[in-house]
Structure formats: structure tokens, C-alpha cells
Amino acid sequence: MIADQLHPLERKVIPFLKDNVSFEELMEQTKLKDVEVMRALQWLSNKDILTINKSRREMIALDDNGLLYAKDGLPEMRFLKVLNKTPEDFVSLDDIQQEAGLSQQEAGVSLGALKSKVAISTENKDKRLFAKIAPQGKKILEKESLEEQFLNKSFPIELSALKDEERFAYDNLSKRRQIIKLDSQLIITISLKPKAEELLQDKSSLSVNYEDSITHEMLKSGNWKDNRFRHYDIKINVPKISGGKRHFVRQSIDYIKKVWLELGFKEMEGNLIQSAFWDLDALFVPQDHPARTEQDTFYIKDPAKAKLPAGLKAKIKAIHETGGDTGSRGWGGKWSEDEASVNLLRTHTTVLSARTIANLKPEDLPAKFFSVNKVFRNESLTWKHLFEFHQVEGIVIDPNATLKHLKGYLREFYQKLGFEKVRMRPAHFPYTEPSLEVDVFHPEKKEWIELGGAGIFRPELVKPLLGIEVPVLAWGQGLERGIMQYYGFDDIRKLYDNDIKTIKEVKIWK
């Protein structure tokens, strides 16, 4: 029943509803404020009881000067009246101005207007101007002008309703400064729809007392049982609120961490600033590798150098120069300790894998580790490049691990991330052999997309750190590209520009 849903405001308006009733009439009849009437009409319209018709009309009203002149008279008439007090004498302009209470500008304009109508005569004396009323002036004073009549009307007046002489006065006055203004006024009327009849016929339903809220009092006394509660329009818009929220990148990190944890991986920790020794040399990256150049890596100015672990240093030197005891030929040439000592912002989280392996004992195996953390690349910040971003990385250290297992783990991991199909291609990374590129089939785009790299750590990496050569399956990927896709961002900087409004409004990571 419609009556149940009526808000008290609607109830107050309904008795006065009829076709073509205006908004102003309703305000007057209901004694409600304009917003209240408007809301009531809007709700009734939502309930299909009436239609709100809106139209516009031009209304004339008095502007600041107009209001003043309606009270005190037009300046030129006041000018003339002063002169008429001493019809035989010339009066100085200053005196007229003072006595008529005119501004300098008004006096000037009046003077011009009266002269052109031959209502006054003027003369100059000692560089001052004097005026005297002329016969035509006296005539003008005898009867009220059209403009004066117009000003004395009650406003607002609808423009289209003006009679000819009113139109003449209006045109004259509207040329003058701030006398008349034209407002475009919104005219609201209503027309009733068929449903209204039912409502208006049964006025008794309107008299039932509906409660708006359940109150503490009602519940305590139990008299809620005697009340009827108004039905709400549940589809209506309510004001927006916002709560506390994690940053969306952190949300996605938490999600990926959860995947790793469910797969039985332990989280790795470690510093953002590392020596090149740990970040590159321990990973068997040759010392002349392009990744070490200034363009790619951030170096620390001071302290520029790190202390290297004494025992491991000799092993890594041997590995690079001759392959040490790994059966490898090494890179040849001389390995420079100086080069390895430089401090840098880590270029990959693989440095955490290296340090984790270095802390393991053979009896800890098999073991699985992961990290979702920051890495750095010396790039200018642009719409597609960040100098600091996340790498997702996992390793499995297992004496029995094989390439088949790597493929199995990759499928399991990417399935957990929502990709059913995984494909692998040969690739190259300096510290894995074999190396693979991982493609996943994007179910919506219906194409293979390159997602990450994987491989088995080279013996030259594992043996010096762990003491024995054990296969270490490793895989990883970037994080930011996926987040950008999810949020439909086309500028990567938007991920970290920390616009509070964006953080509050973007959808959550699902």
C-alpha cells in the first residue's frame, strides 16, 4: 500500500495536490520550507503519483538602484524638484547635488538628461556650473512620468505580461545602471497521475499515524507494538561515506603473500641496500655485465663501500676467475674486490634468495622461500617507468628437484593466481640454467602474455653459498603491471602518487 511508504512531508503535501498547482502555492498552503516541498514532490514522483513540470519565465525585479529610486524618486526628478524651489535662480551644481542627495555621477547623468529635454538652462561662472529650471521642467514635474509609475509597481513582474507603456518605461530603465534586473525563474507545477486518485480518495489512510524511527523509549515501554512504521524508498541514494583502508598496492601484496604461504613457502627478509657482492657477484653476474652500469643501478654516495664476508669472498673470486671447485670454467679475467664492495640499492630480490641459501645448512633441506618486495632501477620517473617497484620471487631448494618440478610448481602457483594455462619457453638469465620465460593464457584477452621468468640456479651460485651443489628452482615476476591492468591505470606513477581520494575510492583487490 502506498500510504505505508509515505514520509511525513509527503503526508503534509498530499491534501493540497491538484493538477497545475504551483510550487509556491504548495509552500504557502503547507507552510513547509521550499526544500521540504521539493523533497516531498520528488519522492511522490518516484512513487509514480505525480509528474513534476518545470518551465522557466523571465521576471523583472528591481536592482539596487531601482529599490532606492522607488523610495526616493529618480535622480533627475529630485534634481528638478530642488531647482523648482527657487524657480527664478541659478543654483550651483554642488548645492543641487547636496540638497537632492545625489552622487556626483547621478548629478552628472541627471544634468545631461534634463538639458537634452530642455527642462533646465545652465550657465558657467568662475569655472562652476549653475542651473535653473525651464518651463518645460515645470511641465515635467506636473505629472508622474511612465518610469516613475513603473518603479512604483509591485515586483516581480513577468516580462511577457507588460503593457505597451510599461514596456516603454522598462526599456528606458533597463538602459540605466542597476535599476532593473531580469531573473530567469523556474516555474514548477505538478500534474497528477492515475495512482494519485486512489490516494486522494481514501484520505483516511493519510490520517493514520506512522512512526519514522524505532526509539529507545518504544522498545523499553513495548509500545512499538501499537505503532505503524513508515516504509522507506530503499532504492533512494544515500550520502557517501569512507572508512579506513589499506593502500591498494599493499592489498595486492597481501594477496600474493597469502598464495605463497598456502603453498608452504617461508618469507625472506633482508636489506634494500646491499653490496654488489651479494646483489651481483654471488649470483655469478660477471663484473662487466651491463646491469652494473650507472644507467641501471643506484649507487650509494657515502658510505660507498661495504665490508665483504671474508670466507665467502675468496670462494666467489675463484668461481668468477676459474670456476673454483664447481666444474665450471668461470668468466676468466680478474675479479675485482673493489668492484664487488660498492653499496647499491638492490636490483632484484634474488639477492635475498642468495643470502637465504647462504644461511641454510644441508639438513634444512628441502626448503621453500618467497619474497614480495621492493627492487630498484635507475630510471627517470615516467608514465611507464618507476625507479622503485616490486618483485615477486620464490625458490625451492631440494636435492631431488628437476625441470619437471619447476614446471609443476609454476603451474600450481599461476593457477592460484587465477591463470589456468601456463606455457614455458627457453630464455636467458645470468644466474639460472636452464632458464625459462613463463607465459600464461589470459582468459579475457584470449592470448598468451609474458608474465615472468624462471629457472634453476647455476651451480656457480649455489655451491659456494650452500657448500654443496643442489638444484634450486626459482621463479619470479613483476607486480606493478598486473595491478595497473586490474585498476585500468595507464600511467604507472598513479600507483604511488598517494592521492588520498583515489586510495579511498578505488575498488579493493579481489
Partner: protein, 549 residues
């Protein structure tokens, strides 16, 4: 990554078989290279940096042809003796001590072949040659030069020659400043009092490596049939490999290879040496890594698809002389896997039970974050790399740890204060609605002699309230809420710094240790950041708190 551009007609002839586009695409990708584009008769392929030997039409076609089973096994290359000599003067020992050289005869040079030779040279310069630092390559028409050739070093002001594409003769020193190639590569000779040069028997300058060849005798043309090739650098093995990549490619182009005697002050070397190197292999090791059960014979067959040979009597794998990436038998393992086909390995997961575990400090921090979310605060996420100007000029704190080479303007140091990062964020959010109540969890860097790197990293949490009525009480309530939920107590001691308003700030003390600061931000600091509402804030050392609890 480097790419190689192939002429499809030449490529198909070299491979010995035509493939459909989709087959070609699939095979190229499964060989461990990446097809970038096929446009008309031009194929562009991306080559991983470990296989510089594939950076020519010939080298790539050779690998591809083996891989698809068309021409498998080790390619043999004949070398005849030229009887010519290259003398390496001891003066180069401090500048660019080594060179490896060869002669290739009877190539019919046309536009296409000249393009191919230039491509090989350029691609190898950039990749394997590390932009000419490690290897510089010179190719010279034999008809313009007379043996023996001498490799020597001399004061660059005393040597004059006409460099490639130049209009007049210059001294070696002038080349560095006046020739475009000299300006690009001049840094490679920086600080040297003598520059390296090649000259012929008539004292004509051939080139000044690693910068430029002579215009007169250092340019291959359509009249050229025979060429002299030299690679110069610092490691003879590297140069020999690089030379082999070039010589085998020219040989595949139809050339005949001739050796040269390299007369070093202390030894003689016959160059090039195209004999394969021998590598032992262990069938068990290979099968263990791959999860397969291959017989020795099968391994040999698979490796033959990757261009390897097999020495039956010594049971060793023969590694082609142009391969620079085979250091360990694990490299054979990868090539076996590629030949076997990555797509043919079944996916298996071993039953290895391990227990997942989040980093303890991360889970501790997350509990505090949850409390802050409950208080309706918004998390922000700032960079570790910050502006030293903001720290010093706006936050009025001491100079942070600086980076030596940042390319991004305004990002030249690592973070020294989480509060400073939050103020920076508030300053950039002035157009947004207030109140702004934010927090961030991140690494703060400080000097410490105890660390190997000399730098200590600690996880810190900062909370900032920015609104008309932000005050000390509000921020202290939040700190209280955290500590009471952790069921611990802290104390405050008064603090006087430039960052906070005097009498409204303090140090947070827990079990006698300073673990943070709290206060109303000084209006001078707010003005420096152009923040127009008061800010109350605290910073809490999570690493230290976690250690103490």
C-alpha cells in the same frame, strides 16, 4: 636485448628448408629466441645475450637448421695457412694488450653481403664486445694492405691518418674531439698517453682501435674479395671466441678461412683456432636436473640438434668454437632441454611438505596496521627514494644518505624519516577533502658502523592527522590505543626540535629505549611544505619495538 635482421631468402637458403610462418614463429620461440616481426622479406629476431654467435644471419641460420633437424651436429671449418704475420709490439701491453686475427678469402661482396658483415660487426660490438670496451673489431680489404701488419702503441699526437668518412687527416688525439665516432668512444682511451694502432708493411695506418678505421684501407667495397679481420681487447680467449663467431659466419657466406701467425713478444699463436673444445658429461647429472631418463646416445642426438659434436673414443662432447656460453655441463643440460623441447616436459609436483611462514616482523606490523584501519585511517605508500631538498630545506632535518647517480630529478637520497614522507604526501593532497588521516609503514635508513654496508635499515610506522583541529590529544589517543592493544606501556619525555612545536612534542620511550617521536608539527615546517592545516603526528620504530617485546 640485441636483435638480428634476416633476409628471408638468404635465411631459407642457409637453413635448407622453408617453413610456414606459424611453424617458423613457434620454432624460433622454442629455440630460445624471440621473433619480433616478419615484414616482407625481412625477419627480425631477438637474441638473448648469452648467444652472441646467433647475431648474424649465418650464425642464427646455423643454429636454427640444426634445431629443426635439417643440418645437425658439429660443423667442420677448414683453415688453410696464409703464411702472413701480425706483429704485436710490446708497447700495446698497457693499452690494449691482445689481438686475434684471421684472413677470409673469396667472398663475392655485394651490397647484401656488405650489409651482413657490417651487421655482424655492429651487433658484436654492442653485445659481446660491451660497446667496444671488451672487444673492438676491424675488417679490412686485403687489396689495400701489405703484410706483415704491426699492432703498436704510440703518442697519439704523432700519428696522423684519414679516419673513416672524414674529409682530412687528423692526429689520433684530434680524432677523439673532432670525429663523431671519436667523441662516442673516446672515453675508452681516456688517460692513456699512448693509443693503439694497426699499421701495414708500408707504415699505412689501418685503424686506431677501439675507435675507428682508416678511410683509405679500412673499408670493404664491392671490389673486395679477401678480408683481414682483427679483434682487439684485454682477454685473448674472449677475442678468439669473437673472431670465431665472425669467421664461421663469413665461412658460411662462402669464404675460405686462412690462418695468421700472431707474433707476441713472448709467444707465437696461430689464429684462428676453430677446433671444438671438449667437455665431459655425466649422464646421471643431466637426467637428475631434467627429471628424464635419457641414455648417453639420446643425449648425443639431442646435443647434435644444438650444433654439438661427440668424440666417441674419449666420450666427450665437442663444443663448437664459436660458443661463448658453455662454462659448465649445466649449460649442456639447458641445450638438451631445448632440443628435447620445453613443451615436452611433463609437469609434476613432488610431495615435499613444508610449512609456510610470514616474516615475523611483517605479521607484527600488520596487527598494528589493522588497528589503524579500524580507526578509519588511510594507508599511503611512499617511495624509499626521497628528495634531500625536502628533508633539509622543508623538514629542517640533517642531510640524508645520498645516492651517487640518480637519473630522476628530486629523488636523490634514501628515506631518513617517515614523517617527512607523510608531510610530502599531505602537501600533494591539498586539493582533496579534509580531514586527512594517513599512515605509512616503511624502511628508514641511517648510518651505522655495525652493519657491513655501513647503513642500518629499520621498519618504521608514521601516522599523521591533518585537519582544522588536529592536535596533540588526537594523536596521543592513537598511540595509546596501539599500546593498550599490545598490552604494554610507554612513556613520553619532552623533546625540543625544529620539526615540532615546543612544549607539544616528545620522545616515545619503551623499556628505557627511544623508539619514536610524537608531536604537533612546527608551523614553520608546515609553511615550508605549504600545508595549510595543522598536523599532529608520530613515528614508531617497529623493528625496535618488535625486538623489545
Amino acid at each position: 636485448m640485441p636483435t638480428v635482421t634476416l633476409n628471408k631468402t638468404v635465411f631459407e637458403k642457409l637453413v635448407g628448408k622453408k617453413l610456414r610462418i606459424d611453424e617458423l614463429k613457434d620454432r624460433i620461440s622454442m629455440l630460445g629466441t624471440d621473433l619480433e616481426s616478419i615484414e616482407g622479406n625481412e625477419i627480425n629476431v631477438e637474441i638473448f645475450p648469452n648467444r652472441p654467435d646467433m647475431l648474424s644471419e649465418q650464425g642464427f641460420a646455423r643454429a636454427f637448421s640444426s634445431f629443426i633437424g635439417e643440418k645437425t651436429g658439429l660443423r667442420g671449418y677448414d683453415i688453410k695457412k696464409s703464411g702472413e704475420k701480425v706483429i704485436i709490439d710490446k708497447s700495446v701491453s698497457k693499452v690494449r694488450p691482445y689481438t686475434a686475427c684471421a684472413i677470409v678469402k673469396n667472398i663475392k661482396f655485394d651490397d647484401e653481403k656488405i650489409r651482413e658483415v657490417i651487421q655482424i660487426q655492429e651487433k658484436l660490438h654492442v653485445s659481446y664486445g660491451r660497446n667496444r670496451k671488451k672487444v673492438a673489431i676491424g675488417v679490412y680489404p686485403m687489396e689495400k694492405i701489405r703484410f706483415p701488419i704491426t699492432f703498436f702503441a704510440e703518442d697519439p699526437k704523432k700519428v696522423r691518418f684519414l679516419p673513416l668518412e672524414a674529409k682530412r687527416e687528423m692526429t689520433g688525439l684530434q680524432v677523439l674531439s673532432q670525429h663523431p665516432t671519436g667523441r662516442d668512444y673516446g672515453h675508452l682511451l681516456e688517460g692513456q698517453s699512448k693509443f693503439p694502432f694497426f699499421k701495414d708493411a708500408d707504415n699505412k695506418i689501418l685503424s686506431m682501435p677501439p675507435i675507428i678505421n682508416s678511410h683509405d684501407v679500412g673499408k670493404v667495397s664491392e671490389e673486395t674479395k679477401d678480408v683481414f679481420i682483427e679483434c682487439s681487447g684485454f682477454d685473448y680467449d674472449v677475442l678468439a671466441k669473437c673472431l670465431n663467431m665472425i669467421v664461421t659466419a663469413l665461412s658460411d657466406m662462402g669464404g675460405e678461412t686462412y690462418s695468421i701467425e700472431l707474433i707476441y713478444p713472448d709467444k707465437k699463436i696461430t689464429s684462428p683456432n676453430l677446433l671444438p673444445s671438449k667437455m665431459s658429461f655425466d649422464v646421471d647429472y643431466i637426467n637428475k636436473r631434467l627429471g628424464l631418463d635419457l641414455k648417453e646416445k639420446e643425449i648425443v642426438v639431442l646435443l647434435s640438434k644444438m650444433g654439438y659434436g661427440y668424440d666417441n673414443s674419449k666420450r666427450k662432447i665437442l663444443v663448437p668454437s664459436y660458443r661463448a656460453d658453455v662454462l659448465h655441463q649445466i649449460d649442456l643440460v639447458e641445450d638438451i632441454a631445448i632440443a628435447y623441447g620445453y613443451e615436452n616436459f611433463e609437469e609434476t609436483i613432488p610431495k615435499v611438505a613444508t610449512i609456510g611462514q610470514e616474516s615475523k616482523i611483517e605479521s607484527f606490523a600488520k596487527k598494528i596496521v589493522d588497528l589503524l584501519i579500524g580507526l578509519k585511517l588511510t594507508e599511503v605508500y611512499s617511495y624509499n627514494i626521497t628528495s634531500s631538498e625536502a628533508v633539509e630545506k622543508k623538514f629542517l632535518a640533517s642531510k640524508p644518505i645520498m645516492l651517487s647517480n640518480s637519473l630522476s630529478e628530486g629523488f636523490d637520497s634514501v628515506r631518513s624519516s617517515m614523517i617527512c614522507s607523510l608531510l610530502d604526501i599531505l602537501a600533494r593532497n591539498r586539493h582533496n577533502e579534509y580531514p586527512q588521516r594517513i599512515f605509512d609503514l616503511g624502511t628508514v635508513f641511517s648510518r651505522s658502523a655495525k652493519e657491513d654496508t655501513g647503513i642500518k635499515e629499520e621498519l618504521k610506522l608514521a601516522v599523521a592527522l591533518c585537519e582544522e583541529k588536529a592536535n596533540f590529544t588526537d594523536i596521543k589517543q592513537i598511540l595509546d590505543y596501539i599500546f593498550s592493544n599490545l598490552d604494554i606501556k610507554y612513556e613520553l619525555s619532552e623533546l625540543s626540535t625544529k620539526q615540532f612545536l615546543e612544549g607539544r612534542s616528545g620522545e616515545i620511550i619503551f623499556r628505557g629505549k627511544k623508539i619514536g617521536t610524537i608531536g604537533e608539527v612546527h608551523p614553520q615546517v608546515l609553511e615550508n611544505f605549504a600545508i595549510e592545516y595543522p598536523v599532529s603526528t608520530f613515528e614508531l620504530n617497529i623493528t625496535e619495538l618488535h625486538r623489545l617485546i
